[in-house]
Amino acid sequence: MNTQYVGEHLGPGQLGHFFVILFFVAALFSTFSYFRATQSTQQDNLSNPWIRLARTGFVIHAMAIIGIFGTLYYIIANHLFEYNYAWEHSSRALPMKYLLSCFWEGQQGSFMLWAFWHSILGLIVMFTSKQLESRVMTIISMVQVILATMLLGFYFGDHIKIGSTPFLLLRDAMQNAPVFQQANYMSFIKDGNGLNPLLQNYWMVIHPPVLFLGFASTLIPFSYTIAALWKGEYQTWIRDTRIWSLFSGAALGTGIMMGGAWAYESLTFGGYWAWDPVENASLVPWIIGVAALHTLIIFKATKRALPTTLLLYILTYFFVWYSTFLTRTGVLGNTSVHAFTGEGKSLYWHLIVVMGIVLLLSFGLLIARWKKLPRMQVEEATNSREFWMFIGSVVLLLSALQISISTSIPVWSPLAKWISGKEIAPPVDPIHHYNSIQVWVAIIIGLLSAAVLYLKFKTSDTSLFWKRIAVLSSIALVVSIAIGVLEKINVIQYAILLFVSVFAIFANLYYAFSIQKKIKKMGAAISHLGLALTLLGVLLSSFKKEVISFNTLGVTMDFGKKTAAENVKESRENVLLFRNTPVIMGDYLVSYEGDSTSPSDPRTFFKVQYERRDSATGQLKESFTLYPDAFVNPKGQEGLIANPSSRHYLHKDIFTFVTQVLDPTKKTDTTAYKSYTLKKGDSVFLANGFVVFTDFEDAVYAQENGNISVKAKLNVFDLKGKAGEMKPMYSIENNREQFFKEDTLKSMGLYARFVRILPDQNAVEIQIKQTNPKDDYIVLKALLFPFINVVWLGIIVMVAGFILSMLNRITQKEKQPKGIS
C-alpha cells in the first residue's frame, strides 16, 4: 500500500542516510588507498598519490560521521518522532542536558560514538605516524568500514539484515501497528517514549563518551601491532605504541572509574563495583592492555618478550569486541543488572563475524611471523626488573582470563550442559566469587608494582634492593598493623592485602621522591602509587562497609540455615520509616519528614533527617538532611526507580536510598478535625507534642464596616522544643459571611482552623487535625562507606601517572630523534 503520509519531515533522514553511506564508502576508499600505498615502494608520504587519496578519503569519512551526529542531534532536539530513534529514546519533557544521553542509550548511537572517536584518533595518527602511516591507517580505516556496516541497515532478501540505521522511520520500525495505516498518523504521535530514568543523570552524559574513547583508543596500539607484524619491523613501532598504550590506559581507566562513580551515585546496588558483566567487560581489556604496556617496556629495554607483547595487544583489542558482543547482544540475558537492548540475531552474527575477522587477521599474521620473531637466547637474571615485570604481566593476563571465563558463563554453559548435563548458572554470590580469587592477584600485583621499581633492567644490586625493601616493609608492617587493629581487619587475605597496599604506597612514594626526583620521570611510580591507594581504598571501603538500616521491626523469618545465614543478614537491610517517627540507625537518629516534588523535575524527593547526639549528655553533635529521590510510577510502570543521596565526609560516606514508598495514589487521610475551645495560654496535646494558643494577631486587612479579620497565633512544640507556629485566620465580612483560612505545619503533619470567636467565654474555637503518621511512610536502606574517597583518589592518581608518562614519552622525542627506520 502506498500511502502519502502527512506531517513527516523526511529531509533529515535522507541526509542522515546519505552521511551513513558516505561514511561507509569513504572509509572503504581510504582502506583501499592506504592498502595500495603500502604496496608502493615510495617512502616519502606526500609524493605518494595513494597516500594523498587515502588521506582525503579518511578526512571525508570523519566529516561524514560528524554529519551523522549532527543530523541525529537535530532529529532528537527537534522532537521529530517520525524517527524511531527520537521516539524510542527521547521525549518532549526531557531536559536539554540529557539529549546527549539519548545517543548513548541506543545501540546505533554507541557504535556512532565509537566510530567518532576512531576517526578523531585516526586523524591524529595520520599526522604523527610517519613511515608507519600507510599500514597503521589501513587497519584503522578497515575497522571503520566494519563499524559503518553496523549502521547501514541494509536488507539482503527478507532475513539477512546488515546493521541497523539510526534514521529508521517509526512507521518502518513498526510496520504492523494499525496507526500507520492512516496518512495523518503523525498527529497521533505527540510524544516519544522517553529516556530510561536510570540514564537521566549527569554521569550518563559524560561517562559513555569517555568510556568509548577508552575502547576506541585500544584500536591504535592494535593497529601499530599489526603494522609491525605486517612488515616484520619491530623497532619503529615501539615509541608510538607506548604513547598510545599509555593514553589508552588513562582513557579506559577514567571511563571505568566514571562508571563506578555513576553506579555509586545513582544506582542502588550499594557500591561502585559489583563485578557486573558490563563492568567486567570494560575491566578485562584494560587489564590486558596494562599487561601489554609492561611487556612492551621490557621489549624496549631488553629486546625480550616481543611475542608476548604482540599477543597481549591483539588480545586487548579482541576483548574489546568480545565485550561488545557480551553486552550488546543480550547473550548475558539473565545475569546482569544492566538493561540490554537486544538487536536480535543480526547483530549477534555481525559481531561474531567481526570477532572472527579480528582473530583471523591478527593470529594469522602472528603465526606467519612467529618463527622469525627476534628472541634473546640468553636467560634473564632473576634479580632483573624484566623478569618480575614479565611475571606481573602474566598474572594480569591470567586474572583477566579468570574474570572473563566467569563472566562468560552464559556463553559456554550450553557446552558444559552438553558435557556434564548440568545447566551452569553464575555464582550465587558473584562478589564473593570474584573477590576471593582476585584478592590474591591484587596482592601479587601490589607487591610487584612497588618492588620491581627497585630492580634495574638486566641486573641489579641485590643487597641494596633487600636493604631498601626491608626498611620499607618494616615501616609498612607497623603502619598496617595499626590500621588493621583500628579497623578490625581480621581475615588473613585482606590483612595481607592491607600490608601490601601500605607497603606499595610507601615504596612508590620513596622511589618517586628520593630516587627519581625529576617529576617528568615519576609516571610509573605515580601510577603504581595510585594503584596502591586504590587497593587500600577498595579494601577499607568494602571490608568495612556497614549497613546501618537494620530492620528491627516486624516478624523475623526462620532462616536457620547455616549456609544462607550470611544472606539473611545481608538482606534484612530495609527499614520502614513512618513519617516523623525517628528510628535509630547506627549512631544516628533518622526520621522521614515528608516528600516534595517540583513541576520542573519528574522526581519525588524524600526528606530524611539524620541526627547524632552525644550518648552521655544527649547534646546534638550533628544534624543533616539527605534527599534521596525516586521516579515514582514513571511512565508506563508501577513502582519506583530510586536514586541515592549521600552525606560525604572526608573519611566516610553515609549512603541512603529509598526502596519502597507508599503509592501516592493510595495515600489516605484517616483522621478528622477535632474542635477545641481555647483561652489564651491554653494548650492542646498531640501524640508527639502540644500546641499553645498564645495570642491574637491582627490580620493585614483593616477592620471597617463590620469586617473583621483576625489570626490566632499557635505555637507548636514537639518533644525537643519549639517546632514551629501556625496562624490560622478567621474573618467576617459585612457582619455576615464567615471565612476561615487554615494553616499547616507540615513537619508535624498538623492542620489548624480558626472557626469561631466566643466573646462571652473570652475564648476561641480552634479545630486541629494531625495526620496519622502511619498514613505516610518510606522504606529505605542506609549504608556507611568508610574511606570511599581513597578509592577515587587512587584512581585519579593512577590516571595522572599514565598521563605523566605519556607526556614524558611525547616530549622525549624532540630531544633524541631516532635515526633508525
Binding site: 540490554f340 544462607a564 530495609n574 508506563g636
Partner: protein, 131 residues
C-alpha cells in the same frame, strides 16, 4: 627450559587449578523439585509469576518480606518468599530468575531478576536484590 618458562608453567598450572576449583562456586539452574532434593543449598530457579495467586507485601508489618507464587519451567507451582522489598514491576515480569533455597516446601530467595516485556524494549532486565 628457561626460568621464565618454568614460572609461566607454574602460574598457568595455578590458574588452571583456580579455574577448576571455581566450578564449585558456580551455581546451577534447577527446578523446584530438583532444588528440593537438597534443601538449604542455594540454586538458581527460572520461573514465571503466577499472577492469579496472591502476592503479599506489607512494609508496615515487615519491609523485608515479600511472598508470591511462581510456576517453574517444569510446571510446578511453589510459594516463594523474598526477604527484601517488593521489586518494582514484578507484575509485568515475563520471566523471573530467583536465587535461593528450598525450606519447608517454600523457596526462600535473596535475589530476583526479572525480564520485563516492555512494549518498546525487547529485553529489559530489571533486578530486585534482597535488601
Amino acid at each position: 627450559m628457561k626460568r621464565t618458562h618454568i614460572v609461566i608453567l607454574v602460574l598457568v598450572a595455578v590458574a588452571v587449578c583456580v579455574i577448576v576449583s571455581m566450578f564449585g562456586d558456580f551455581s546451577t539452574y534447577e527446578t523446584f523439585s530438583s532444588a528440593a532434593k537438597e534443601p538449604g543449598k542455594q540454586y538458581h530457579v527460572i520461573g514465571f509469576l503466577e499472577k492469579d495467586k496472591t502476592m503479599e507485601y506489607d512494609p508496615v508489618k515487615d519491609p523485608n518480606h515479600f511472598s508470591f507464587y511462581v510456576k517453574d519451567k517444569a510446571g510446578e507451582v511453589s510459594k516463594v518468599i523474598f526477604n527484601g522489598a517488593k521489586p518494582t514491576d514484578i507484575e509485568k515480569s515475563e520471566q523471573i530468575v530467583m536465587t535461593g533455597y528450598i525450606d519447608n516446601g517454600t523457596f526462600k530467595c535473596s535475589k530476583i531478576q526479572m525480564k520485563c516485556p516492555s512494549k518498546y524494549k525487547k529485553d529489559q532486565v530489571a533486578l530486585g536484590n534482597a535488601g
